[in-house]
Amino acid sequence: MLDNLTNRLAQVVKTLRGQARLTEDNIADMLREVRMALLEADVALPVVKDLMVRIKEKALGQEVVGSLTPGQALVGVVQQELALIMGGSQASLNFATQPPAIILMAGLQGAGKTTTVGKLAKYLKEKQRKKVLTVSCDVYRPAAIAQLQAVSAQAGAEFFPSSADQKPVDIALAAIDYAKRHYLDVLLVDTAGRITIDEQMMDEIRQLHAAIKPIETLFVVDAMLGQDAVNTARAFNEALPLTGVVLTKLDGDSRGGAALSVRHVTGAPIKFTGVGEKLGGLDEFHPERMASRILGMGDILSLVEEARAAVDEKAALDLAEKLRKGKGFDLNDFKEQMGQMRKMGGLSGLMDKMPAQFAQAAAQMQPGAPEKAMARVEGIINSMTPAERSNPDLIKAARKRRIAAGAGVQVQEVNRLLNQFEQMQKMMKQFSKGGIGKLMRGLGGLKGMKGMMPGG
């Protein structure tokens, strides 16, 4: 997870420093590393092969400018190329039709179709003020219809009932009829998961598509998918005219090479990404970030965004306000920040998304070490009285001993925490002066934590 491309290339090109241009000679080994990195990220081999040709073409003759190393120059080329392939075409949903705009979902079993219908319903309702109807044509999976009913209710969307003894086409047509009569804007049609060699099931969805003529046919793909993503994507693309892709489970730590495979094979734009099981977890797709992620090079931008999303808005505003008023950032806030971090999936999760410099520091830690360190810090803060937390200056020798005993740590650890906290407090002040409170509220805690980790 930490063997990101920049570092690996750095190994290869140590000897090349000072060369001004990427040439056949100096990039051969580096290209091999790029190939491996892509494969390890689950980009499908045929796609990798194709990419390598394009990357080589673009890289040759590229000048190595300024302080860049040839490795860094090549990474730049690779990253741009990946982003180019995944980005490009228009990625918003098309509603240019006589209402209801019908959106058909398709994909493998367990990809996240039903959940995504719920997320889309919420998104369309809240962000685009659409009147949304959902319907399930999954007459196979136990409780599939009940599941859609439940997520529709959570999303505040209208749900058209169906039952397992009906035919998918009949269900969908009845729902369209209902949507028309009730002047609904959008109809989201959920379908059963299917494997591509099940001819009967592929026929079923082909017929469903022909009967309802959706304006959008979204292919829902799990970001953890491996090499077979190319076969699956090709088969769905041959069966249905896909208009877009939804990449789910991006909140995990998979590198997500499937995004590249699917995009390469279908040509359909990635219109949304799924993060988390909650219905608010539907994001736009950012090709550059995805490119960095696939290359294992961290993604500070998503990190910031994730921090924003997970941080309790109110708590963040309170903190910002406090700082604005010039009131100090105290240990209560610090503790709060740690709770927020936990919500974000903990440090180990975050590490994966960090750029090389950070990840390298992290590499020296034991797995789970950051969480342990965090738990210790929390233990120390918990042993303090509220008064001590809001005014750490109170904490002198006797109190330190009491706190250390309470948390079951050495007094030095309490000292270290207080020192680090003080530094952080200073940093916070600077941030709030500089007016980047927004960035701070996500990352402030993180930077503070970094110093707290062994080896960090």
Partner: protein, 330 residues
Amino acid sequence: MFSFFKKSETPAETVATPVEAPKASWLSRLKAGLARTSSSLGSVFSLRKIDEELLEDLEATLLMADCGVEATQTLLAELRRRWKHDKLETGEQLRAALAEHLVKLLTPLQQPLVIDGHKPYIIMLSGVNGAGKTTSIGKLARHFQSQGKSVLLAAGDTFRAAAREQLVEWGNRNNVSVIAQDGGDPAAVAFDAISAAKARGIDVVMVDTAGRLPTQLHLMEEIAKVRRVIQKAEPSGPHEVLLVLDGNVGQNALAQLKAFDKAVGITGLIITKLDGTAKGGVIAAIARTHPKPLRFIGVGEGIEDLQPFMATEYVDALLATGNTGAAEAV
């Protein structure tokens, strides 16, 4: 080079004609699912002489089966050594050598789940979202009942919409009880189920859990708690902690295994969805770096679509030359 992916050339019809006994029909289903790999491997080996190009094709095939860069390179290095050392000549000999290595690699994982020695025998299932946990419980219930065991299910997924209803439906299909609660505490459900199983003299309890990604640390803590509470209810339990892996998953499977192993101590694996085109080759990487018994494989959505893992059959299915696409050049 993609000609062998075309539908007409894959023996998809074997799926629709399971004429033999259940076991054979599984093999044919697995083979049908793995057909793309098989046919490409078939075309790799056939009657060709061994040369660098053949080895490269072979590398491609292993990579595309999700074996991973590291495992593939190791296997290939081993084959290269055999080629020189044993003076192999034909592709077919190379195929046999590869099969031998794969079988050697995977055989240690072939350890069937034996549920004697405890009553109730407590099995906990874990895994990422949508991997196939709940469905596998439905299939396992059938499996254990066919061995004459009584089964009780615990609806430990108190989070996902209709997760409980889904498990209850599997309970109905098997005619077994499902313990569920209105409240939201999975550990409490597990505790209740174990108490109920003891009171009713049940043989096997299976505890379903909500899907979770290892990055969701609080959820990993939650599942660790479920395990602790199970142990509180029955100090000798849980007797088996299964990780369910989606056969479609790529290299992330390793990270999943490590994370769940750390949180709950994995004692066995199930790989699902091998009836599709995915090959589940990541099991080779798992066998090399983090071996755990592979108890069962999932080969469909039906109640019978679960089979004990057999290394030779799996490798056979993976490498079968068959008569499909063998003439095709890669």
